[in-house]
Each structure stands twice: as C-alpha cells, then as structure tokens.
C-alpha cells in the first residue's frame, strides 16, 4: 500500500516534468499532504484491526481460523522474528562486606588439610579467582544473564552467562531433550551436576550468601560444574524416584582433574584419559499432607589432579583417584501459600588416594609421599518464612572428619572445623531480595597453624529483571 503511494508520487512527478518549478513544488507539497493523510489512515486501520479480537465463544477450529484471519495482514508484512525471542533474564548480585580481619590476612588462611584460599581473592595460574563477597566493603559479585528457549519440538537450550568485573564465564550452556519419553531426559553441554541437593542450584537461589563450608572446601565455589552429558530417568511410580548418571570432563580445581603436572616434555605426573569424572545419584520425594520430604544419595568418582606446583609457598601437587559421597535430606513444611519452614542438610564425605609431590625452590620434586585423605563434613540449615516478604535462617557447618595420612602416618590435622551463620532476608517482590547475613567461621588457620576466627557481616542485594525465573524444588 505504502509502496503504491510512493510509486504514484514518482509517476505523477514525471508527468509534471514540463511545468515550471514553482508549480511542480506546489503540486509535490499537495501530494505529500495527501500521502501523509493516507498513511495516517492506514496506521489507524492497522491498529484497530489488531485491537479488535474476535469474541471467542466457540470451539477450537473456529478460534484458530479467526485469529489467523486477524493476524495475517500484520504478520505477513515483515520478517519480524521478535516472537521467537528467547526468555531473557538478568540477575545482579552485589554486597557490602565487613570482616574482623583485613583482606590480606584472610587471603592466606586455609582449612588445614582440606583447602586454601576460601576467602578473599587470590591468583592461581595467572587467573584471578575471586569468590563471592571476597573483599571488605563493596563487592559486585556478578551479573548473570540467562537465555532459554525451545529449539524445536525435541530440544530446549539454556545459556547462563556470568559476568564479573574482570571476566565473563559460561556458567552453563546446555541442551535438554523433551521428547524421549519413558521419563528419561538427556542433558548435554556445560552444567551444574545434580550431585547432592545444593550443587545444581545457582547462587541466587541459595538461602545464604555463601556456599556451605563443606561444599566450598571440597569442590570450590562453583561446585561440580563441568562439561559433559547427563542422563536422568524418573520412575513410573506414584512416589517420585529419579535415577541419574553423568559423564563429566573432570576438571575441578579442588578435587578432580586429568591433566599432566609439571612440564609437558617430562611431566611429574602424566595426564589421564578424559572424561574422567563419573557421577551417579538416586533421589526420592514424597508428601505427608503439607510437608514434603526430599532425600538423595550421590556418588562421584574420578581421577584427581590438584595442582599447586606454582604456588609461592610450599609448592605441591596431588595426583591420584578420588571418590565423593553425598547424602541429602530436605524437609519443607508449608503453613500456607507463602509461609514455610525448611530444614535442609547434606553430608559430604571424600576419599582421595594418591601421591603428594612436594617441590623445592627450583621446581624439582623434593619428596613424594603416598597420601590418603579421608574427610567428611556437613551443613544443616533451618529457614523460616513467616510471609512473602520475610525469611530468616540459621546454618551450622562442620568438617568433622579430617584424616590426612602421609606414608601411613596420620598428620593429626584439626578435625572439628565449624562455622555458624544466621541470615535475615527481605523481599521487595519475587524479583528482589535484600539479605543480612552474619558468619562466624572457626575453620580457618594461618600458615603457622594457629586458628583464626573470622566474623563476617554481609549485606547482599540480589535483583532480577526479565523473564520470570521459575525454580524447581
């Protein structure tokens, strides 16, 4: 229609070729006015035809015919694909942190025999590794951009991108099948393993600003987040029963790995075949009135490479095989639609068996004792929501078994490592929450082997826009 009008304008101006300039201009102006009026008319017609929806009081076929008739003119006129836009959401997480110890003190603390560098940022192999809420004062933890949509009738694609101040990470990027049937689903790409209860959930879904001690010290701040493939099967029973298996690449800074250690030509420890991490789990759940009980058993087994060979102090590396066992139990009681009480607990236990390589200043192996680590920890948390706006909770963290056996000799590492947390949350809506959290961490020791109790206050804001983030249980 518009095309036709402009064409007529061109044609008419050609016909006017021999008349004098002024007349031509006048004619042009008139034409333009007419066109503008016509355009307005067209727009008006277009909008009204969009607005008047048919009164649908009839059956299926007639409805679809009607909508088709109505939508056709608007849709066929462009190549617009905006209706295929994926669901987009952006989640911002920021915090204000106050600690009783300075950043540089905190950075050098370790959970003896378990992990180091849990709090505060530290550089490792040239990568700056900044846990959430690392610094005193203001922290911008991340912006999480999430995109998801059906690919076609048989696949969905999800991408979750983590922007921090100095890097961008693909947190997750995976497809899931939708059409396999028989309760089975395949997921492939990079994703959070479904090991345990907390591991699959994203940070913004946790009830506390930080990870439970046992998770963070065994698996690091990302948990088991790997490239790989997952298969899950839900049993055809009235009680929820799900069995899952995962084959994962096996690169976890704290526990699993398969690359060589040392130089490529003459490595101290050779690389292992990848993928090298296998995860399996069984989960079940049932309801008793308004109480839901959810329980799971998980197991992970893989080759280990924990490489601290380029550390300034005590360079060392661990090479061997590791197993991780998990038991989780969550009991959630609902008082009404908005008020609930949740008790969530997990026990993690690991068995690492291999060799520790200690390096001297020149980088050659000074000693290589056989090393066995048998460590267990748990967290248990209670969260109460009196209404839609408020939540409050307490958490107890503990590493209660810490046997580090070097060449058959128990190193007598401290074994009652614990941490206490409390939090209060205010939700301005489903899409934003402000959280005040207090931690007392009694699990950290300095290099001299002295316990350093760390108290932290975190004021966290977690805010999201865009697509509605529906969460699984």
């Amino acid at each position: 229609m518009k095309k036709l009008l402009s064409l007529s304008l061109v044609v008419s101006s050609l016909l006017m070729a021999d008349t004098d300039m002024d007349q031509l201009k006048e004619q042009m102006n008139k034409q333009q006015l007419i066109i503008e009026k016509l355009m307005q008319k067209i727009e008006k017609l277009e909008t009204t035809s969009n607005v008047t929806k048919p009164v649908i009081n009839i059956d299926k076929e007639e409805v679809s015919q009607n909508t088709q008739k109505n939508d056709l003119p608007a849709k066929s006129k462009t190549f617009s694909q905006s209706s295929f836009m994926p669901d987009i959401s952006l989640i911002a997480d920021m915090s204000y942190v106050s600690r009783n110890k300075k950043n540089d003190v905190v950075e050098h603390l370790e959970v003896p025999g378990v992990a180091h560098g849990l709090l505060g940022s530290h550089t490792h192999d040239g990568n700056t590794h900044t846990p959430y809420n690392a610094k005193q004062g203001f922290n911008l933890n991340y912006a999480e951009l999430s995109l998801s949509k059906s690919v076609d009738p048989s696949l969905n694609l999800n991408g979750i991108f983590h922007f921090s101040e100095d890097s961008v990470e693909i947190e997750e990027l995976y497809f899931t099948t939708t059409g396999l049937g028989y309760g089975s689903r395949v997921k492939g790409g990079k994703f959070n393993s479904n090991f345990g209860y907390l591991n699959e959930q994203h940070h913004h879904y946790w009830s506390f600003a930080d990870m439970p001690l046992v998770y963070e010290s065994f698996l690091g701040m990302h948990g088991i987040n790997e490239n790989g493939i997952q298969f899950q099967w839900t049993a055809p029973t009235s009680t929820y029963l799900m069995i899952g298996a995962e084959v994962l690449q096996g690169n976890n800074e704290q526990m699993f790995g398969n690359s060589y250690i040392g130089s490529a030509e003459s490595p101290t420890a050779a690389s292992e075949n990848a993928p090298s991490l296998y995860v399996g789990y069984v989960k079940t759940s049932f309801d008793i009135d308004d109480t839901t009980i959810f329980a799971g058993l998980s197991y992970a087994q893989g080759s280990s490479r924990v490489d601290h060979s380029s550390d300034d102090e005590n360079p060392h590396a661990f090479v061997g095989d590791s197993s991780l066992y998990g038991i989780d139990l969550t009991i959630k009681h609902y008082f009404d639609s908005y008020s609930f009480l949740t008790w969530q607990s997990e026990i993690l236990s690991r068995d690492m068996d291999g060799k520790q390589y200690n390096f001297d200043a020149s980088g050659s192996v000074a000693s290589s004792p056989d090393l066995i680590k048998q460590q267990s920890g748990l967290y248990s948390q209670l969260v109460y929501a009196p209404n839609k706006s408020w939540q409050m909770g307490v958490r107890y963290d503990s590493i209660f078994k810490n046997d580090v056996i070097s060449n058959g000799v128990n190193q007598n590492k401290p074994s009652h490592l614990n941490k206490y947390s409390a939090m209060l949350e205010y939700h301005t809506s489903e899409f934003a929450r402000l959280r005040l959290q207090y931690n007392k961490n009694n699990a950290l020791y300095n290099e001299a082997g002295d316990k350093r109790s760390i108290e932290t206050i975190i004021l966290q804001a977690n805010i999201s826009i865009g697509a509605h983030g529906a969460h699984s249980f």
Binding site: K53, V55, I56, N57, I58, D59, K60, V63, S150, P153, N156, T176, T177, T178, G179, L180, G181, G183, S184, R185, Q232, T234, A235, P236, T237, S238, T239, Y240, L241, M242, K283, S285, F286, D287, T292, F294, K332, Y334, D336, S337, Y338, N387, K388, S389, S429, E430, F431, I465, H468, A470, H471, S472, F473
Partner: protein, 291 residues
C-alpha cells in the same frame, strides 16, 4: 525386592484409562464431568492455596511424568511453577504445543489485557486477567474446549464425551439461571477486593470493583495504600470486601474495624473452603456469599 517393585508398579496397571494431569481443581472437576469413567484426573495445585504460588514439589514431577495429557489454565497463572515440572518430567505428552497439551486461556476472551507491561506496576499478567473461570458462563466455553480436546486424543469415546458434555451443559445452564436470579439484586454494587481475581465474576453480575487491598498486583498491602483505601471506602460506601482465602485477612479486618465494611470470604476454586466440593457448590457459595 521384587515384591516392592511390583507394589510400585501396581498403580500403573490399574490406571488403564487416560491419566489427565490438570493444574487446578476446577479443571479437574470439569474434565472429570466430561471424561467420565474413561479418564482419571490428577490435580497438581491445591484449591486452598494461592494459584500463583504453587510449590513445584517433586511429587508433582512424578504426576506429570505419568500423565497422558495436561490441561492448564494458562494466561501466565502457572508461570511460576509449572514450567520446571514439565521440564523435569520430560514427558513428550505434556510438552507445550503437543497434541495432548491444552491451554484453556486460548479458548476464552481475556479481559484487562494491559496496554504495556512493566513490573513497576506490580506482577501483572501480560496476557490479561487469568482468573476467567470465575465467570460461570465461561465454564461452558471451557467445557467445549475440554470436550473437543478429549475427542481429539481419544476419538473412540467421542459419543460418550459428547453425551457427558450435553448432560453437564444442560445442568449448568439451569444453574446459570438460578445464580443469575440470585445475583440480580446485586447489580451495581461496589466492592473492594484483595487482588482482582473476581474480575470475571464481577463483570458478569454487574459488581463494580473500586479498589484492591494490595496496592499493585502481587505487592503486599502498605499502610499508605490502606489509609487511602479507608478514605475511599468512607466516600464510596462499597458493600463489602470480597477476600480470597489464601491471603491473610489482617489488613481487611483492620479496614473493617475502621469503616464497618463487611469482609466476605470468596473461594476461588474447589477446596478453597472445606465445604466447596464441586463446581456447582463453588458458584452456589459465591452467589450467596454477598448478603
């Protein structure tokens, strides 16, 4: 062990007929009246809870996983809880767009469709007000949609579904007349609500909703808004506060104590109150609640 497995699998063999998962109790009741003995309905949400906030309990995954079809309300009412269940259940029969998936909101005309959507206006439904089943006339429209849906997935029992629908609609039309005469003298009454979930009911019977206790959809009551509402009530003299069963009546009771306005509990679905056991009793109750 074998015995246990047998016990677990037993329910499956018993359910030889179609297993239809539905999001809300009213859909279950309507589907059951049309499907009769050829179907079995599994209701996911509880009738006395806020339909916007249903916990995606894992037991519901099992229900969706074992379903032969899924019927939902739509209009984004289930947006916060149904997608993860469908996703987890991985059942091709309950995937959006499959021939065994029915979105009822595509079969009725939604009112209050916002011109523009922004969450600064609260948690608005971009497709319009999704509580359309509270207009009892819509129940017939939804019944037709469900009848056609059942026929499309189980044409063998076409005659049965048609007959059941005829019976249902005959009974329902009679009831519609009754409810209409019961509500005739309520035409023009002004009402206050907590959330505008009775919009369709009000529209049909000529009630005018002049305000809500929540300042914006999904936003809890604030003292400033409550004070303004009290002023409005004193000025406009509405008959009553029509209150849902899942929000606390604390604010409503306070307003009532300040203005003398009545607070009337209005069930939104079957099971919302103890004696609401069927679609008929739901509307029987709703049409006699305002006195």
């Amino acid at each position: 062990m074998k015995k246990l497995l047998l016990l677990l699998l037993l329910p499956l063999t018993l359910l030889a007929h179609m297993n239809i998962a539905v999001s809300y109790p009213y859909i279950g009741a309507l589907t059951k009246s049309i499907g009769g003995k050829h179907i079995n309905t599994v209701v996911l949400a509880k009738g006395n809870w806020d339909p916007h906030f249903v916990v995606p309990r894992p037991s519901l995954i099992a229900k969706v996983r074992n379903a032969d079809a899924l019927i939902m309300n739509g209009g984004q009412l289930e947006i916060g809880w149904l997608p993860p269940l469908i996703n987890r259940a991985s059942n091709p029969k309950t995937q959006v767009g499959s021939s065994t998936f029915l979105n009822l909101s595509h079969h009725v005309e939604l009112i209050q469709k916002p011109q523009s959507v922004d969450r600064s206006g609260g948690d608005v439904h971009p497709d319009g007000n999704p509580h359309f089943h509270l207009n009892p006339e819509n129940i017939l429209t939804l019944g037709i949609a469900i009848k056609n849906f059942l026929i499309s997935i189980d044409s063998e029992h076409k005659a049965v579904y048609e007959k059941n629908y005829e019976e249902f609609s005959g009974m329902w039309k009679e009831k519609l007349g009754m409810w209409k005469s019961k509500m005739a003298n309520k035409n023009g009454l002004k009402v206050i609500q907590f959330h505008d979930n009775l919009a369709y009911f009000n529209k049909l019977y000529g009630l005018t909703s002049i305000g809500t206790i929540e300042p914006l959809p999904g936003v809890p009551p604030s003292s400033r808004h409550t004070i303004n509402l009290i002023k409005l009530i004193k000025g406009e003299q509405p008959c009553c506060i029509l209150h849902d069963v899942y929000h606390s009546t604390k604010t409503a009771d306070y307003i009532s104590s300040k203005t003398g306005i009545k607070v009337v509990l209005m069930p939104h679905d079957i099971g919302a109150l103890e004696d609401i056991e069927s679609l008929v009793s739901l509307f029987d109750y709703l049409t006699s609640a305002i006195k």
